[in-house]
Symmetry: C2
Subunit: 374 residues, 2 copies
């Protein structure tokens, strides 16, 4: 089953759309949240638990899997789906962002990125072609091109040079990408300069990718700037292709960006926050280690239908956290993922009913979005 994107409905007063993406490992509805499974595992939970939380797509990290256990090993074992026992869609990132975050350990050239492994210091060259090859070996359903993520702040000249490298890399990636099974997405860069974002989008659209990602956001810029750039960049992208905002974000970010026409999201927030004892509810957040929960017999959220809320008290979850019991991060992760999936369900329902504009941050987080633009 080749990659396909269909728009099923449009919201009445925002740019949001309800879509359906078909992949070799099944279909899912957009807007979608992809759960992060960096090293071929969504930390602490099984695929069955992900499914119970309504997770439909997992994101794995090309950079990590390339280094360990290596893409060739995963290929020999039948591909990433079989390796991690997840038979639903998988998106693999390009490693660009992770290489970017390595800072002193990397060197960029026209050819690609020379970097040192964070594991053992060994040197590796990632080129646009190599990144396509690695993801083909992993067998993910959606692959990403290698990009350069522009730091923030950056000068116009730096951002321009970088954007043009990203386009040339995208062209090279596209040239070596084969077959119709695995989709390949381009990544719009250009720093915080709207004209560069538009230039990047136009150049990538000419290359005709299966979808377009918005990269280089959530790197320290103001929410309002991010908002404006996403709005203007999305307007340069074709209606009939999915738009993926990489690494974003909070429930408030997501609601805002869906309204601007974004279809796909990933973020470590629900899972990482869970491990740190930060729990989301529609009535506001809970910091589970707080003493106020020590004797609290209630579930995290009385309205939540997740496994954790069905069976465990705040007092028990606090005890697990304080006692550093391994079950704690796991039960918290189940709850937070369930919450994120619930938010997306609310969002999709509001789109179908043409009333997404009336869905406010307070409705999904229980807290006003102080950072939201007017």
């Amino acid at each position: 089953m080749p990659f396909r994107f269909e728009i099923l409905a449009r919201d009445a007063r925002t740019r949001a759309r309800l879509g359906r993406i078909t992949t070799p490992h099944g279909a899912f509805t957009t807007p979608v949240f992809m759960s992060v499974g960096t090293q071929a595992s969504v930390k602490s939970v099984t695929p069955e638990e992900l499914l119970a939380c309504q997770v439909e797509v997992v994101l794995a990290n090309t950079y990590h899997l390339y280094l360990r256990p290596t893409h060739t090993l995963i290929q020999d074992l039948g591909g990433l789906h079989r390796f991690m026992h997840w038979e639903r869609p998988i998106l693999t990132d390009s490693g660009g962002f992770l290489v970017y975050s390595l800072a002193g350990l990397r060197k960029l050239s026209e050819e690609g990125v020379l970097f040192q492994s964070h594991l053992n210091g060994s040197r590796h060259m990632l080129t646009p072609e190599k990144v396509v090859e690695i993801q083909a070996a992993l067998g993910s359903d959606i692959a990403m091109v290698l990009d350069e993520c522009v730091p923030y702040p950056a000068t116009y000249d730096y951002a321009l040079t970088s954007q043009e490298v990203t386009t040339r890399w995208a062209r090279r990636a596209k040239a070596v990408h084969h077959g119709t099974e695995q989709a390949l997405f381009g990544i719009v860069q250009g720093g915080m300069y709207v004209e560069l974002r538009e230039k990047s989008a136009q150049e990538l659209v000419e290359l005709d990718f299966d979808g377009y990602a918005l990269g280089g956001f959530s790197v320290g810029e103001a929410k309002r700037l991010m908002n404006d750039l996403i709005e203007q960049t999305a307007a340069c992208l074709p209606e009939e292709k999915p738009r993926y905002l990489m690494g974003v974000g909070t429930p408030a970010d997501i609601l805002r960006c869906v309204k601007l026409g974004v279809d796909m999201f990933d973020c470590v927030m629900p899972t990482r926050n869970a491990r740190n004892g930060y729990l989301f509810t529609r009535q506001g957040k809970l910091i589970i280690k707080n003493a106020r929960y020590a004797q609290d017999p209630r579930p995290i959220d009385a309205h939540c239908s997740c496994y954790t809320c069905q069976h465990y008290s705040r007092a028990y979850l606090r005890h697990l956290f304080v006692a550093e019991e391994m079950l704690g991060p796991r039960l918290n992760t189940i709850h937070n993922l369930h919450y994120y999936m619930d938010v997306f369900h609310m969002i999709r329902e509001a789109i179908v009913e043409g009333r997404l504009d009336t869905l406010q941050v307070e409705d999904i987080t229980g807290e006003p979005n102080v950072e939201a633009p007017a």
Copy 2:
């Protein structure tokens, strides 16, 4: 439903018996293995996973729960079963062994044990009466008396004095234990002196406990010495009461001691070894981090029906271990608990069929028991 023990069958050529213990939270068949959930959680797994592994009884640690989150808090929240979402039988230890292991942080007197918390250095007095009170608050199905665990080696005089304290403590515990719902077990001590073990057993039997534990083993003594002492002590205990060997042990230890008439066991071995990547199979052990498993597509054990063996390769489990992914300890724990439960199933089946003497260590571990007595 009050505590009850019935003997259902006896092995033909060993002292092993098949029994049934009934508690307020259900019944289970003996010989039984109790999974260790020190801090009200069997590390990394849920109650549903324990049930899927055929675990029937969980052991929780009185000392740990007394200090954190405290027995009064657990009582206020409806008791330990509800707190940890485990509705099957729970045995709580007395804290005696843990206080013993604190070494420099404790001081024994006729009154009880004065000790310092390993968490914050606070001082606490555990008396036989207090330990009964704590376990009543926890609401476990089987409670243990406070005992003094004799170090090894110890002089005869030390062991005698200690054994006599343990008896006096047992008498005080029995005097304050109320109701017929929660069972109370005495603990036979006496160090490695058979006459003291016999004296201890006789004195405790006069007090008429619901069951009798053999404490103070696996503290460094030779397997043969342990074997002889257990054999001779068991002979002093009434047939119609269950016998519980505390903190033991390896599959080989267990098989040997079942043949001597022991009915109940607990040990951290399956769960702790799992977290360290040491996996049990009937064909021998697997140290999952070994490079030989890096590309091994097979499950831990092709004959095992546990969740882990049904879905994951050795290569994936090795990857999780090496990458320090939290899912690794969990999948390993499921396998090792399943293995232990399988061993007990084999043992019970052999007793029913009157052929336990023919069940050898090699049959359950795939490895000869070099330490076994002739």
